[in-house]
């Protein structure tokens, strides 16, 4: 079984229809044998994956398969968990992340979480510029501009422009999540990780988030973990299927949902388990 999996993640390179000489520089994220252990139990086991710039990659799989664990290792969130140990290599834009501090990596690799988590002590305005204000001093006029721009990008401006000074927690769940997206892009990341960004939201809010993802592709590289296979099919260019901490299959989304190579993938995608 192990050998099969290794072939699966090597062979997905054949899916790169647009391979070109400068292919290397197009990699936004590259992991080599990435494993994360919690208390000596593998959360993910030797994941090797390559994500090209300005694409959307969906990660699907049943609960506990390591989707979030993988995602959170890309912006070093496991540093917070004392019992987590990370092995293997991660390259962001072809640079090994061990060469940088966690703070620098996280500025480059933003993250949107499953549950909207605006800062409860801050207004809508302050939430958008929280990352900027906490890191450096900015001029008031500069901040005003950043707030307007990023709220417009995240499609929230029209709804909140008259009440920027009200507490962020007064917004609805879907609005809060878009606020969190505005907050994430305000620090100008290059890669955005999304950990089930719409699983706590209603269908309308979900479709708004999906629209954003589609539009953001032009500016960012997005990796999204989702439980919703229709969502993966709608928003992503390529899809990775994780099962029990291993990468089972990784290929173009269209192919993944119509003609998967692995039997396990087919069973999951068609809803036979998971």
């Amino acid at each position: 079984m192990d050998t099969e999996i290794f072939q699966a993640d090597v062979s997905d390179e054949t899916d790169d229809s647009e391979s070109s000489p400068e292919k290397e520089s197009k990699n936004a994220v590259l992991t080599k044998d990435l494993s994360v252990y919690f208390n000596n139990r593998a959360g993910i086991d030797k994941i090797s994956l390559k994500v090209k710039k300005n694409t959307v990659t969906a990660i699907i799989g049943p609960s506990g398969c390591g989707k979030s664990t993988f995602l959170r290792s890309l912006n070093l969130m496991h540093d917070l968990v004392p019992k987590a140990r990370v092995f293997g290599e991660i390259f962001i834009h072809n640079e090994n992340i061990t060469d940088f501090s966690a703070v620098d990596i996280r500025k480059k690799v933003g993250m949107v979480f499953q549950k909207p988590n605006p800062f409860p002590t801050m207004s809508i305005y302050d939430n958008v510029v929280a990352g900027l204000k906490l890191n450096a001093h900015h001029k008031r006029s500069e901040l005003d501009e950043i707030v307007e721009k990023n709220l417009k990008y995240s499609g929230l401006w029209e709804e909140v422009k008259d009440r920027l000074k009200t507490p962020a927690v007064s917004l609805s769940g879907g609005q809060q999540q878009r606020l969190c997206i505005a907050r994430t892009i305000a620090v100008k990341p290059e890669i955005i990780l999304m950990d089930e960004p719409s699983s706590a939201l209603d269908p309308m809010s979900t479709s708004k988030i999906e629209e954003l993802i589609y539009y953001f592709k032009e500016y960012y590289t997005i990796i999204i973990v989702t439980h919703n296979m229709q969502q993966a099919a709608r928003v992503s260019d390529q899809t990775a299927f994780f099962y029990l901490g291993k990468l089972i299959e990784y290929s173009k989304t269209r192919r993944m949902f119509t003609n998967p190579k692995e039997k396990l993938t087919e069973e999951y995608v068609t809803g036979k388990f998971g």
Partner: protein
């Protein structure tokens, strides 16, 4: 055994209802027992104290034995100074160690700190007084406000540490992650996000610790010692409200007894005000931010 059989069995239902009312009565009884001493102290002190309370009490120095009148102005100011010194020591040390235990809770040192804080909160205040005596009074070779404030500060530390730790642990992990994911450093996340979110709870703890320290007598007995005169330099013995109450209460003079009652009333009133303040602060927490 199933719910159906319980419904069909009225005797079971009756016994459950009896047990229920017995337990409820006991709970109410316990609640009343809790309230009675508090109300008694409050009303009795008010009744005995308020009649002796006048402007002189707040503005005059104690008169020598045999002379009528006088007040506790020096003791009121002295208490404020002692609590001030205590707060200067207790608040920063308490909050910072609370942060350490909560935010770096997996280290060996923090486990030790947490344990010692728990033990310290149970140490009798007279022992803390002896400690301050040994550490400050003996080397300085005299009683001083500094030693008294130091003792009060030590007493405040465990309360503030504990409440800071608990309030910080209530801050959802997702907020820490959100801040860190924005490329904000750990110390800024702790200070500007975590501590700020928990601030109303921490303010509550600090106020309660101050109210507690304001009434402490034992640790001041051989640190601050007490004084019958105006005295504001920190390396001299200083009067304090609870000390003055103690001295006056055990004296054989009726006038002093009356003043002791007035002092007790002022002290209880202050503690009451602080608790009221705490109520207001915590109410804002629920209607406002969190």
């Amino acid at each position: 055994m199933t719910s159906a059989s319980i419904i069909k069995n009225p005797s079971n239902l009756r016994s459950r209802k009896i047990i229920n009312s017995v337990m409820l009565t006991m709970c109410i009884l316990a609640a009343v027992i809790t309230i009675i001493p508090l109300l008694y102290i409050f009303f009795y002190t008010t009744q005995s104290g308020i009649s002796s309370l006048n402007v002189d009490f707040f503005t005059q120095l104690p008169k020598p034995v045999g002379e009528e009148g006088g007040g506790m102005a020096n003791a009121i100011v002295g208490s404020a100074i002692l609590i001030g010194i205590g707060a200067l020591i207790g608040i920063p040390v308490g909050i910072l160690s609370g942060i350490y235990i909560s935010e770096y809770s997996k280290t060996f040192v923090s486990t030790i700190v947490k344990f010692i804080t728990d033990v310290l909160s149970g140490v009798p205040s007279i022992i803390v007084g002896i400690f301050a005596y040994g550490v400050i009074v003996i080397p300085m070779q005299r009683f001083s406000a500094l030693a008294g404030g130091f003792a009060l500060g030590i007493l405040m530390i465990p309360t503030i540490t504990k409440i800071t730790e608990e309030m910080l642990k209530l801050v959802p992990q997702s907020l820490r992650e959100a801040s860190l994911a924005l490329g904000v450093s750990r110390w800024k996340t702790t200070l500007k996000i975590v501590l700020k979110t928990a601030s109303s709870g921490i303010v509550t703890g600090v106020l309660l610790a101050i109210a507690r320290a304001a009434g402490e007598t034992a640790p001041l007995l051989f640190t601050s010692f007490g004084n019958s005169f105006w005295q504001t330099s920190l390396d001299e013995p200083m009067a304090a409200l609870p000390l003055q109450i103690f001295v006056y209460a055990i004296s054989p003079y009726d006038d002093w007894h009356r003043q002791a009652w007035a002092g007790a009333f002022v002290l209880i009133f202050l503690v009451f005000v602080v608790n009221l303040l705490v109520r207001i602060v915590t109410r804002n927490k629920f209607s406002g931010n969190l």
